[in-house]
């Protein structure tokens, strides 16, 4: 019977090529968009290295310092018989400054947190430019502590990570991405490990090669990673609380994140500002991974608000974009029910009941969506590789993993089912006498 249904549905598709084309066009295009979107979400927010621990992550990208002055506002009542002069006082935030933190601040204050298991500090403010046989290379330079490699589990292709001894000794070693290795050495193989790289005025030995992350995040957008103590000496000596360092922490379980966030907020609010010039209050921004992502895009300070502001419109937009082709398909299917009235009538007259007809048409629709889905996947793969090879989205590259294909299969079935159920229901209720008239 299964085979019969399949043959029948293929025959029906062939009978009216124009309608088949319209349906397939809508289906394959919609499914392609959905596939691209899932792929984009998977690349930026998915469970990819170095963000496998993203559910236990708390990020402190920067701190804010404010200065509050008390204004004296004089009110003079001119209508009163005597000069009645009252003063009111108002607190005004006269100056705000926010930015990353200094080396001293993070190493002295952010390494004794109760809830944090691992500490990552990084400085992303530098570039290493240079020339190799007249060819320019430009590397984003990150100065990171040993804990950075625990928090972000980079995928090591060759070699190993930097460790505590490298931080203590300010060793001239470096971890580079496969892209940087290809640019500098022409290859990203094991033979690169241990080789020397001339970066700036110094020579560094390559310790490890990591795969370039899929997503573009200020936490790990670098091409070369140095031990934190190799950073400009001025950054290390600076007594200021603001500097060039960001921080991220791993908690033991995702449930402890809230506790860590509270701990960080408390630390910021109660920080002794007596040593800080000009400013009198501090706030430590902290966010979970998703909040941090939404904040970065919207430049909105409140993490959970940013999350709402970003994802509600995005979800609404996607729903609308999917609903339209879906409706289109439903419309088309319904209007075509009448064409096949006679066929349904005959089937019913020979003993098929409503549910048989229902199953048959849902199945037919699934066949149609499946064909459209295959075309959609092929289009999507072509587009993804086009986007990736040309770096159209900057650093972010789209992924096509097993998960994406799995989600996609679910989407195909859902799409086929939703667009088929209403027309099939209407068909199954056709009156035999009417249709055979």
């Amino acid at each position: 019977m299964f085979k019969n249904y399949l043959l029948l549905s293929l025959k029906v598709l062939k009978r009216k090529p124009f309608y088949t084309f319209i349906s397939l066009f809508g289906i394959s295009f919609t499914l392609m968009i959905l596939m691209l979107l899932t792929s984009l979400f998977d690349a930026t927010l998915g469970d990819n290295q170095p963000l496998t621990h993203r559910d236990r992550l708390v990020i402190v990208p920067m701190l804010e310092r404010t200065r509050t002055e008390t204004d004296t506002i004089m009110k003079i009542d001119t209508l009163a018989t005597s000069y009645d002069t009252t003063y009111t006082y108002e607190d005004d935030i006269v100056s705000t400054s926010n930015g990353p933190m200094s080396y001293k601040f993070v190493t002295e204050n952010l390494t004794k947190l109760e809830e944090a298991e691992h500490y990552a500090f990084w400085n992303d403010g530098y570039h290493q430019d240079g020339y190799l046989d007249g060819r320019k290379f430009s590397f984003g330079a990150y100065y990171v502590n040993a804990g950075y490699w625990d928090v972000f589990d980079f995928k090591f292709l060759h070699g190993s990570r930097l460790n505590e001894q490298d931080d203590e000794g300010a060793n001239k070693v470096v971890v580079i991405t496969d892209k940087a290795a290809k640019t500098y050495f022409g290859e990203a193989t094991a033979s690169v490990i241990g080789q020397e790289m001339q970066l700036g005025a110094e020579t560094f030995r390559v310790r490890g090669i990591v795969a370039r992350p899929l997503s573009d995040s200020p936490m790990f957008a670098g091409d070369v990673f140095f031990p934190i103590t190799r950073v400009d000496q001025r950054e290390i000596d600076s007594d200021d609380v603001s500097g060039g360092f960001g921080a991220a922490f791993l908690t033991s379980t995702s449930g402890r994140r809230e506790a860590l966030k509270n701990e960080l907020t408390f630390l910021g609010d109660n920080y002794d500002m007596s040593g800080v010039e000009f400013y009198d209050k501090m706030r430590l921004f902290n966010a979970t991974f998703y909040e941090g992502y939404a904040r970065g895009i919207l430049q909105e300070e409140d993490g959970s608000k940013a999350l709402r502001l970003l994802f509600i419109p995005v979800v609404l937009l996607i729903l609308l974009f999917v609903a339209l082709p879906l409706l289109n398909l439903v419309n088309l299917n319904i209007s075509r029910v009448y064409e096949r009235k006679a066929e349904i009538g005959v089937r019913k007259a020979f003993g098929a009941n409503g549910s048989d007809i229902l199953y048959q048409f849902i199945f037919e629709n699934l066949v149609l969506t499946f064909i459209g889905g295959v075309i959609g996947v092929l289009l999507a793969i072509a587009l993804i590789s086009y986007v990736n090879t040309n770096d159209l989205l900057g650093i972010t590259r789209l992924s096509y993993s097993y998960e994406v294909f799995f989600y996609f299969l679910v989407v195909i079935v859902l799409f086929g089912f939703l667009s088929g159920i209403l027309p099939a229901y209407r068909m199954s209720r056709t009156n035999v006498a009417d249709s055979l008239r």
């Binding site: 066009f25 809508g26 974009f321 409706l327 289109n328 439903v330 419309n331 209007s335 900057g394």
Partner: protein, 392 residues
Amino acid sequence: MFRHLLKLMWNKRRANSMIFLEILLAFVVLFGVFAFVFYNMDRYRSPLGFNYEQTIGIRMDFDDELDSLAVIELQNRIHREMIAMPNVEAASFIGPVNPFGGNTWQTGTEVNGQQIRTQMLFADYRFGETAEVTMTDGHWFTEDDMKGKYIPTVVNAEFKRRYFPDVESIVDSVFDINGEHIVVGVTGDFKYKSNFAENFPLTFYPQMERLGEGDPYEMMVVRLRPNTMAETEEDIFNLLVDNTKNTEVVIWSMAKDRNKANRPVMIPMVILLVISGFLLINIALGLFGVLFTQINRRRAEIGLRKAMGATSGQVTLQFVLEILIVTVMALLLGAFFAVQVPLLELTPIPGKFFYYGILAAVTIIAVIVLLCSFLPSRQAAGMHPANVLHEE
């Protein structure tokens, strides 16, 4: 006739409700996309006001121990040596904010009873010529301006437009914005963050004050001869490394930086437009298919009307009007919801873009619906009554 048509459509409300819903949703999507695109295109229209082509940006690092005078001498030496290079046309130093770099400095002060908010850009007296800034009034600050009592500043056209709209000229006025400055010139429209940035009041400051705070200008904007970037870059890099005795020298192309700065708006806009385009094709094809089957199913009715003396034109008009009634109702409902967005000020975007969005969405949907209903209707109306009635 109109009431008659309404009744006809009401009788088939189940079939029409799906078309109604589809048009309504299409309107909502198009309205949103158009409002977003119009808003950004309006911003794109206001010019950048400076030349970024064939221009490179450079960041370097001076020794912190250098005395101010030594910094100026070093800068002048770098400038001299650079200008002497065959491919360099002009060069200037700029402060901590670079065009297309992504950072902003903004300040708000009360001046003569009005709150003035302005972005700040730090540039030396050679910047006007290097970036080919157009001036609408006065001049870009010169070396001589630095010797006056007040430190000179240059403002952009939006600054004057927003805060001093009724004054003939604000050149030679002294304002207390981050210290007292005398305005020596007004540029044309000038914005530096990206093509999609807001045309915002902007003031330019020379190096003097920042030098006093131990924060000399450590970035450069250098204009090169056309297509010489690749060959000149390494020489410039070496020149700067030699002069600053520091390898922390970063060179970038301003044209590329502009593309990067435009990307956060450009990418969503292109994606939205492409998707909407495909959605429209999809809807047009679908509607065409649906109407084709629906109208063909009414052959008997057509035959009857024609036999009673109706012309093909009248029959076509009837079908087109039927669909138009559904469309108009869907658009009215959609427009009712859409109008709430500017009326309730749900977004900071000015209301006019939403009205343009409604207009554009209505026009496009109306055209598509007319086309998709006209073709099948005319085809059906052309049928000969004898043939059609004969079949029944």
